[in-house]
């Protein structure tokens, strides 16, 4: 049977997660329990949501450098307005999503580099977050807190949530017409245009959807940490990009995989725990993440070459 390239793309992320998980269980058998898994993957939910948001932007060949600042901002809103006056909180979120759609339109119409525009936006979101919460504080709305700490039978919440996120986004991005058009724009802008679709509309929608997932990431993060501060999620920018890449996504060409992205986010989360189980000094943890990223990319290059050789034969 010939494997499709999208299946090949999922092999490496799934394998690296499995290897990592096996290593963790081997070193720390106690992790193989409900509580253990919960601890291992707890922080994965907001990262997975942010990764999905980044993936949507990347599927139309752009990159969002404001992801971390925006998720921080959303966390601050969730810990303040959403908790005290939910209606205003929801309105702010809707406004933020509209801004995201607007950014998509501006980037397309003026042919601007998304990196610089979102860089500018990262300052804006960061500033708004600081205005909302100059010092760490706020509180998670009760229902969010409940949602993030609920203990479903058999499988911990983090796993359940990850599966739901993967399933829903897989449906939207990989199965629905809307997802087809988004990826079509990433794959061949001109042919989508020639078939009579509005590319600017499709891009605006992709950005808006990314905004929605980033909002959810902020809310989920507050549910876990119970309080927020303006810098709470700054590292999400880099984590989300790395998650998409680890999950088999590519920077251009609309080649993305929501399931892969969620797996990538889980892998990144697990890598941290793994390294501490390995008794690798905390000094080297960031470096090891960089090395993992490089190894995965090298593996993928190798696999692509093998695949190409097979095809040419």
């Amino acid at each position: 049977m010939r494997l499709s390239s999208s299946a090949v793309r999922l092999i490496i992320p799934a394998a690296s997660l499995a290897v990592l998980l096996a290593a963790v269980f081997y070193m720390q058998p106690r992790a193989m329990s409900y509580t253990g898994l919960n601890l291992l993957f707890n922080l994965a939910v907001p990262i997975a949501l942010a990764t999905i948001a980044q993936m949507l932007i990347m599927s139309v060949n752009d990159l969002d450098l404001s992801m971390g600042a925006f998720v921080s901002f959303c966390a601050c809103v969730a810990a303040t307005f959403l908790q005290t006056s939910p209606a205003i909180g929801v309105l702010i979120f809707l406004g933020a999503i509209a801004v995201y759609a607007g950014i998509g339109v501006v980037i397309h119409l003026r042919q601007l580099p998304s990196i610089v525009v979102t860089l500018g936006m990262s300052f804006v979101w960061g500033g708004l977050a600081v205005l909302l919460l100059p010092s760490p504080g706020g509180a998670a709305p009760g229902w969010v807190r409940w949602l993030m700490t609920v203990k479903p039978p058999l499988v911990p919440m983090a796993i359940v949530a990850s599966v739901i996120i993967a399933a829903v986004t897989h449906y939207v991005v990989m199965r629905s017409s809307f997802g087809v058009l988004i990826r079509g724009v990433g794959g061949n802008n001109r042919s989508v245009e020639r078939a009579g679709w509005s590319v600017v509309g499709i891009r605006a929608a992709a950005y808006a959807l990314a905004g929605l997932f980033a909002v959810l990431a902020g809310i989920a993060l507050v549910g876990l940490t119970t309080a927020a501060d303006a810098n709470i999620a700054l590292r999400y920018t880099l984590l989300s990009i790395a998650g998409v890449i680890l999950g088999g996504g590519e920077f251009v060409g609309g080649r993305v995989s929501p399931i892969g992205a969620v797996i990538g986010a889980l892998t990144l989360t697990l890598a941290g725990s793994f390294l501490s189980f390995m008794r690798i000094s905390p000094d080297w943890q960031i470096g090891a993440q960089g090395a993992i990223l490089i190894v995965v990319l090298a593996l993928r290059l190798f696999l692509n070459r093998v695949e190409k050789r097979e095809k040419n034969r």
Binding site: L112, V116, S122, F123, V124, P134, L238, P282, W284, Q285
Partner: protein, 312 residues
């Protein structure tokens, strides 16, 4: 006059001067010397890293170096450790810093070329590793810089901060490189169209490689100076220079689409960025407003610059 207003860097200088005047007026003129000296000092660091980033961005869309902060931290830490508070080791420390830059630059381009990954993710992965090396080196006590070096970086010649003079010398060198040498022509050509550059006989890979090394070396030198200036290396000392280095390039009038770089604009933008901060501080605005304004300025500049391109 039209020739002057046509130069994109004029605007960043005009804005910097305007903000300076407003701030000085608000404080009744008493702060003019102190404000200027502080501005020059802090702008100097942004200028040095900004120039390196400018060279990379000139190479065209997609080219960016995210390893700047990690490079600064590692070179600062390593250099201070090697110098070990001895004045006799100052030159060796600088050499170490430069070597760190060379090594990181080579690593960056090796990843870009060998793994065929976009510069943004290559330099990002590299920065993770470099950051870890810095953490590992930095363990233990905070090492002070050699006294002579520390004095040099914090004092003034003719009323101008020494670090600003260093930045000025480096800027002149960068300007000469860009305007007067074949290398400058080459990076500009590559930024406008890397395919056309290749077909005009330019060694594209070699030029890009040198550029990434140059950017890392400048970041390393900035890290060396900053660590000496602030009395020791801190792990997060480079953090704010990631966005800053890109922001000063954009505001300074360098085309984000590549091919067109602008050394004076880096100065204007660096002075402006610091002055906006001090102005808002003087008026009692907090960090939030400052960040929002910075972001809006970047977006406004890119919108205006993009508009020029469309109009033509």
């Amino acid at each position: 006059m039209t020739a002057l207003t046509a130069k994109p860097w004029v605007w960043s200088f005009a804005a910097a001067i305007l903000v300076w005047v407003i701030t000085v007026l608000f404080t009744g003129g008493s702060s003019s010397v102190g404000l200027s000296q502080a501005t020059l000092t802090f702008a100097a660091f942004s200028v040095i890293v900004g120039i390196g980033q400018m060279f990379v961005i000139t190479l065209g869309p997609g080219n960016i170096d995210l390893s700047v902060p990690a490079t600064m931290t590692l070179s600062g830490t390593l250099a201070l450790k090697v110098m070990d508070v001895q004045d006799s080791m100052i030159a060796l420390g600088l050499l170490i810093a430069i070597l760190v830059g060379v090594a990181i630059g080579i690593g960056n381009y090796a990843l870009i070329k060998l793994l065929r990954i976009p510069p943004i993710i290559a330099t990002l992965s590299m920065s993770f590793i470099v950051q870890s090396c810095a953490i590992w080196t930095n363990r233990g006590l905070r090492i002070k810089p050699p006294e002579t070096l520390s004095d040099f970086t914090t004092s003034y010649s003719f009323g101008v901060p020494n670090v600003a003079l260093v930045a000025l010398v480096l800027s002149l060198a960068a300007w000469f490189l860009l305007e007067k040498t074949t290398y400058g022509r080459w990076i500009s050509a590559i930024g406008q169209s890397s395919f056309a550059a290749r077909m005009a006989g330019i060694p594209v890979d070699g030029t890009r490689f040198i550029t990434y090394v140059l950017c890392a070396v400048l970041a390393a030198v900035a890290g060396y100076l900053l660590a000496s200036f602030s009395g020791g290396a801190a792990l997060n000392m480079g953090a704010e220079y990631l966005l800053m280095s890109i922001a000063v390039v954009v505001i300074g009038g360098t085309a984000v689409a590549g091919g067109n770089s602008n050394v004076p604009g880096i100065w204007g933008a660096s002075l402006f960025m610091f002055l906006v901060v001090s102005m808002l501080n003087t008026y009692g605005f907090g960090a939030g407003v400052r960040l929002i304004l910075t972001g809006l300025i970047i977006i406004a500049v890119i919108l205006a610059a993009g508009g020029r391109r469309v109009a033509r």
